[in-house]
Symmetry: C2
Subunit: 204 residues, 2 copies
């Protein structure tokens, strides 16, 4: 398979191919041969650009980790009501993951398998803004805008409701037989449903 756009660099072709194969098979199941085929080059060239499979994986994993936390900081720091922030976060998450539905399983599977030291290194470059998120919830509680709640429960609720359906998509499709299209419709609906649920569960 040769890339039509001649201006796409070999490195970019490799990264795109690696993304597809790693997302699909995971680190252990991915084959350098498959990545080379998909990029339209041969194995040796992979090693020329990225020294080893591990280095290539690290590159994909790091950028994915970053993508897993959509522009949360910007939203959290914005000067908007708490409920508006919730709505924006849900929409950002659902849109983000909808465009790369294999991301959640990949991240969850690999995070559970990598040594702590490796993870520490990765997100020293891509820090998820959890502290900030917790602070935003705590502030809303103090200002009596919402009920006193454990911030982590709220965060878990939001992320669960937005992301899990994508992680469970293959299972859901197998079990219910719904089409790709029907699934997309459900996910679009959730951009309204999920914030409603969250707000309702913590409003005074």
């Amino acid at each position: 398979m040769v890339n039509k756009a001649k201006d796409i660099s070999t490195e970019q072709k490799i990264l795109e191919a690696a993304r597809q194969v790693f997302f699909d098979k995971g680190m252990d199941g991915a084959r350098m041969q498959d990545i080379a085929d998909k990029a339209g080059i041969n194995k040796a060239l992979l090693h020329y650009y990225f020294r080893s499979k591990e280095k290539l994986f690290e590159t994909i994993f790091a950028e994915s980790f970053n993508n897993f936390f959509p522009k949360l900081s910007l939203i959290l720091e914005s000067d908007t009501d708490f409920s508006v922030k919730i709505e924006m976060i849900c929409t950002a998450y659902i849109d983000q993951i909808h465009s790369m539905p294999y991301l959640p399983i990949f991240i969850l599977h690999e995070v559970a398998r990598q040594p702590e030291s490796f993870l520490k290194k990765i997100w020293s470059s891509y820090p998820p803004p959890v502290k900030l998120f917790i602070k935003v919830v705590e502030t809303a509680v103090k200002k009596k805008e919402i009920k006193p709640v454990h911030p982590l429960q709220v965060i878990m609720n939001i992320v669960s409701l937005c992301i899990f359906p994508f992680a469970a998509k293959p299972l859901l499709q197998q079990v219910t037989g719904i089409s790709k299209k029907q699934f997309s419709v459900l996910m679009e609906e959730r951009k309204k449903l999920v914030p409603q649920m969250i707000i309702q569960s913590i409003k005074k």
Copy 2:
């Protein structure tokens, strides 16, 4: 490592070891040598009991698939209020997964990777009671016990809120630094929180 209880059969030792290794590493990352070591036997004996790695995996995957759907049918068929059913399902799910926290990632990762034909075969023996679940929600809607809602959205909400936190546990612990114990406390709380959220979101 030799098993102390002499009455535990070799087959059981293999299955327990295989469960651990497959849950931890996935099919592709698992090594027959690791399973043999953990079971206190050698590789050849694995092949004597289960012809191949694939057969052994199939055994573990099938029983896991079954465990992923806790005794839903019994609860769904029970003669109780809709809201009580929701509560029972959440408790059943959280308790079930709490006792095997690696199950969700394993199932989600592997389901996405197995061919459709294989999955069809598996759950012809372990059918998840989705049809029944949908019917229960639809009945509650018709009886005007709850708002008109898309049953799949309700099901997704329940499963997301109960299961995702376990799938995200390694990530959550890395990112927030909470202990195993603190995590358990949060999950216990959720047995009350989640049903409340679900009921509130669909009550008339």
